[in-house]
Symmetry: C2
Subunit: 524 residues, 2 copies
C-alpha cells in the first residue's frame, strides 16, 4: 500500500528516509482528506501508477535537475513542448473519462486536461479529480494550442495535456472560503444575488483570502508605493533612518498611546517617528525619511482607522519657507501616482474588476488651497462651520467632491490650518497667531498626510508645549535637541494603507493591510 | 537696541511680526547666551551693523530669492565668486583684527575669514568671534583660492572671505560634548592621552554625537545596506510586505517577549515577522521580504544585543532543496557587500579614520561549511564541544578567526545545525533526525543571519511545536495557515545593525543604532 502513492520516478529518493517521509505525508494527507477519493490511488495493478500520487514531504532530500515553467509563460510559443509546472489546483471538473483542471500561479492560470488513454489510467483520472482545491501539484504535460480562446483563464491560447500529476501539498477539503466568492465584484453580488464572503471571514482566513487576484494586485501595488516613495527620495538626497518604536514618553502628547512593560519599568509605542526624525534633522542629516509601523491606541472602529499602520515619514530642512518642503512632499506623491499609473496598470485593472473606481486624477503642480478657502467652499455648499473648526470626516469628503468638480483633481493640499487644531510642535504663522504653517494632503477627499513647519526654537517650543498642557519633563530630550543649533525644517507623515486604499478607490482600510489591527482585531 | 541685531537687508521682513519675532528670538538667544559677547552687537554707531546679527526666527516670513551654495561645492572653480552659505560654525579662533572660522555642513567643511576693513567693523569681528560653536549661520563671502592647502578642512584649496554673517540658530554655549573629542581615533586617545567621550555620554546627547563625520558615514552606509538589500530583492521578483508588530501570541514560543496593553486585553510585540512572512508564502506571494523593527525582551547587556533592532527578513518558496534559498540569501548579502565596496568608499574611509579595521573580505560563491565541520575545526584548535552543542559567542568568534585564516573570508555560512538548538518550525533533515535544514551566516565571526527550511506540513509542525512545549492553542492560526496547500519554503532574518557594525569592524552595536534600546536605555 505504501509504495503506490509515492512516485520514485518523478522525484527519485535515494534515501531510506524518503519512505518514512512518504508514509508520514500520506498519513497526514489522508487524515485531512477523508472526504476525498485520494485513497483509491492505491491499486497495485494500475499501469499508470508511476504517473501520479502524493509526493513525500519535500524535506530537501535531493537537488533535482528539473526546471519548472511559470504559468505566465505558457503561450503558443511553447506549443508541443513538454513542461513541468508547480501550481495550485484552482478548480477541477471531471466529465466521464476526462478531468479538466484550472492550474493557478498567483494571478495567472491555465487549463489542464487529463484523459484516459494508453498511458493514463481510469484510476489516474479519478485520482486527479479527487485532489482538493488549493492543493499544490507538480504536473508534467504537453502545451497544446486551442482553437477557441479559453476565456476563463489568463492563458487563453493553450491548454496543457497532463501526463503526470503529483500532489506536493494537499489542501484540507473544507476551505473556509472560496476564492471565487471572495473575488466576486460587488455588482454581481447585488444584481445577481450571488454568494459573497464578508470582511471578517476574509480577514480571519487571510492566508486564503490574499491568494485572490485582487489581493495579489493590491499588495503588489502597495509594495510599489513604498518602492517609488523611497527611490524618489533617495535620488533627491534623502537618507533613510530607523527610529525606535519603544519610547520612554508619548510622542504626541500622551493620549491614545499603547503601554509596554519594559523590564522593571514601562514604556510606550511610538505614535509617530516625529521626535526622532526631527532629532536627525538637528543631528545634520538634512533630509530624512523612514518607513515603519506607527501605533495609535484610538478606539476608532471606522473604515479608515487602524491601531497599527505603516507610516511613510519625511522630514527636511528648508532655507526660507516651509513651502519648499510642502512642495517637495507633494511632488514625491505625484511621482508615486505617476509610477503607479505607468507601471502598475495590470494591478489597477485587476482590482477594478472587483472594485470599480474612476482612475485617480492629479494635477501638476499640485493644487494648493488655504484652509479658509476650503471653509469658504463648504459654506458656499451650505455647511455651517467656524473659522477655527477642524474638518469632520463628512466635511472632508464633501470638500473633496467639491474640489474634484471644480478643479478635476483627486489630490490637493489644504494649507495654513488653524493653530488650535495642530500639535504643539507646529510653527505658528508669523503674521497671524491663530494660523499655523501646516498642511494636510487629501486623496479622493480623505486625509493621507499631515505635515507642518516645526518649531525649531527651544523657547518657543517650550511655550507651545506648556500651552498644550504637556509635561515638559517628559519631552525634555526632545526640546533639548534644539538647544545646540537647529535649522528650520518641516515634514509630514503619510499613511501607507490610506494611500493604497484611496488610490485604488477601495472602501475599507482593512483591505490594504495584510494583517490589520483594530480595537477588535488582533489576529491572525 | 532692538534693531541692531536684526538685519532687514539680509532677509527683509515685510511684516510687523518680524520685529516681534526678532525680539523673541533675541530674547531667547540672549537668555541661553549670557556667557558670550553677542549682546555687544548692539552699538548703534557701527557702520557695519547691517552686515551681521541674529536673524529673527525663520517662520517662513518670506520666499527669499537667494540660492545657497553647498560647502562641498566650494572649490577653485568658484574662485572670486560671491556665495551665500548656510552652515554650522564648527570652530572659531580670533586673532587681533581677524577671526578664522571653520564652517561645517555634514561631512564637509571650509575655512572662513572675517577681517576688519572698510566694510567690516571691529564690532562685527567681535560679534563673529562670540558666536557659539554648533550655531547655524548664514554667511555671504568671496571664494578665495589659497596658496597652502588647508589641511584641517575638506575644502583645502579655498577659503571664504566673509562679508556678512547672520545667526540662524544659536547654540547653547555649553555643549555636553565636543565633536572633535567624540571623533577622536582610539589610537590617539591611547597614545597621546587625549580627551575622549564615553559611549553613554555620546548616546545621551545623540543629537550632537550623530553630527560627527564618523556617524554621518555610519548611518549613510546603513541606509545603503537597506537600499541594496531591497533593490536586489525587488529585481529578483520579491514582494515587500508589511507585517504587524502587535501580535496576539508570542511568535517564537513565549520567552523574551514584551507585553503591550491592548484596550481591555493584552498583546505582545513581535519577536520576528516569522509567522507572517510564512503566511504570505502560504498566501501565494512566493518571494517576500520585509524591513522593520523586531523586539526582544532579553536582559542581555552585551556589545551585540539590542532590545529593539531592525530585521531584514526574507522568505521564499523553493522547488526541491532549501539550498536554493540559502544561496539566494548569501548572494543578496554578497551583492550588498559589493555595493558598499563600490559606492560607499568615502563612508568606509571616514569610519576607518576613527575605528581602523581591515577591509571586509568575502568569496564568490560564499563559503559553506557544515556545522560538524565547524565543530571539527574548533576541536582541532583544542576546544571541547559536543556534537549537538550550540556555539557560544567566544567559540563563534574563534571559529570566525580560524575560518578567516584558512579561507581568507570574513563571510561564510554554517549549514545543518543540530535540530535541538533550532526553533520548532525548523525542518528536520530527511536523513538524520538530530540534524536540521538550517543555517547561520557570519560576518567577522559573529552571527548576522539565522535561517532554515520551515516545516510546511501542519501535522509535522504540530508535532514539533508539541515537542517544544508550545501551547498549540496560541499558534493555531499559524499552524492552520498550512492546511490549505503550502509550498516548501525557507528564509532567514538579518540583523541590520549587526551587518553595519561587522562590515565596518566596529566594536559595539550601539554605534550602529541611531537611538539604541537595551535593558538599561530607553532614551533619548
Amino acid at each position: 500500500m505504501e509504495d503506490v502513492s509515492v512516485s520514485p520516478n518523478a522525484q527519485p529518493l535515494s534515501k531510506k528516509a524518503a519512505k518514512k517521509q512518504a508514509k508520514e505525508a500520506e498519513k497526514a494527507a489522508l487524515k485531512a482528506e477523508k472526504a476525498t477519493k485520494v485513497e483509491q490511488v492505491t491499486e497495485d495493478n494500475d499501469f499508470a501508477k508511476e504517473s501520479y500520487g502524493i509526493l513525500p514531504l519535500i524535506q530537501s532530500q535531493e537537488k533535482i535537475d528539473r526546471s519548472l515553467v511559470r504559468v505566465s509563460e505558457l503561450t503558443k510559443e511553447k506549443a508541443n513542448e513538454v513542461v513541468w509546472v508547480r501550481a495550485r489546483l484552482h478548480t477541477s471538473r471531471s466529465k466521464g473519462k476526462q478531468c479538466f483542471l484550472v492550474l493557478r500561479q498567483q494571478q495567472f492560470n491555465v487549463q489542464g486536461l487529463v484523459s484516459v488513454s494508453t498511458t493514463i489510467s481510469k484510476q489516474m483520472v479519478k485520482f486527479v479529480a479527487g485532489i482538493t482545491k488549493e492543493s499544490i501539484v507538480d504536473v508534467e504535460g504537453v502545451v497544446q494550442p486551442v482553437d477557441q480562446k479559453i476565456k476563463s483563464c489568463t492563458q487563453q491560447d493553450v491548454e496543457v495535456h497532463l501526463q503526470k500529476v503529483f500532489v506536493v501539498s494537499l489542501a484540507n477539503p473544507c476551505l473556509p472560503l472560496q476564492l471565487d466568492d471572495a473575488s466576486r465584484p460587488h455588482q454581481e453580488i447585488e444584481e445577481e444575488g450571488r454568494v459573497t464572503v464578508n470582511q471578517d471571514t476574509k480577514l480571519d482566513h487571510r492566508v486564503i483570502d490574499i491568494r485572490t487576484t485582487t489581493n495579489q494586485a493590491i499588495f503588489r501595488l502597495q509594495a510599489g508605493i513604498c518602492s517609488l516613495f523611497r527611490n524618489n527620495l533617495i535620488s533627491n538626497g534623502f537618507v533613510e533612518i530607523q527610529t525606535p518604536k519603544i519610547i520612554s514618553a508619548a510622542s504626541e502628547g500622551g493620549a491614545n498611546v499603547f503601554t509596554v512593560s519594559y523590564f522593571k519599568t514601562s514604556a510606550y509605542l511610538a505614535q509617530s517617528p516625529q521626535l526622532y526624525k526631527q532629532m536627525c534633522i538637528a543631528g545634520d542629516f538634512e533630509k530624512v525619511f523612514c518607513v515603519g509601523p506607527v501605533f495609535r491606541a484610538e478606539d476608532s472602529n471606522t473604515h479608515r482607522h487602524l491601531t497599527e499602520f505603516v507610516g511613510l515619514d519625511i522630514e527636511m530642512v528648508f532655507n526660507y519657507h516651509y513651502h519648499e518642503v510642502m512642495e517637495s512632499i507633494a511632488d514625491t506623491l505625484v511621482q508615486i501616482f505617476k509610477g503607479l499609473r505607468d507601471n502598475f496598470q495590470t494591478e489597477i485593472e485587476a482590482v477594478k474588476k472587483q472594485y470599480p473606481a474612476e482612475p485617480f486624477r492629479f494635477l501638476e503642480p499640485t493644487l494648493r488651497l488655504e484652509f479658509q478657502e476650503g471653509i469658504a467652499i463648504l459654506r458656499d455648499a451650505g455647511i455651517e462651520i467656524g473659522d477655527e473648526d477642524d474638518l469632520s470626516t463628512p466635511n472632508e469628503k464633501l470638500l473633496g467632491r467639491l474640489v474634484k468638480e471644480k478643479y478635476d483633481t483627486d489630490f490637493y493640499i489644504l494649507d495654513k490650518y488653524p493653530l488650535a487644531v495642530r500639535p504643539f510642535y507646529t510653527m505658528p504663522d508669523p503674521n497671524n497667531p491663530r494660523i499655523s504653517n501646516s498642511y494636510d494632503m487629501f486623496m479622493r477627499g480623505e486625509e493621507i498626510l499631515s505635515g507642518a513647519q516645526r518649531v525649531h526654537d527651544p523657547e518657543l517650543l517650550t511655550e507651545r508645549a506648556r500651552h498644550h498642557g504637556i509635561d515638559l519633563e517628559k519631552i525634555k530630550a526632545y526640546i533639548d535637541s534644539f538647544r545646540y543649533g537647529a535649522p528650520p525644517h518641516a515634514g509630514g507623515g503619510i499613511g501607507l494603507e490610506r494611500v493604497t486604499m484611496l488610490y485604488l478607490g477601495l472602501p475599507n482600510i482593512r483591505q490594504t493591510s495584510l494583517f490589520p489591527r483594530d480595537p477588535k482585531r488582533l489576529t491572525p
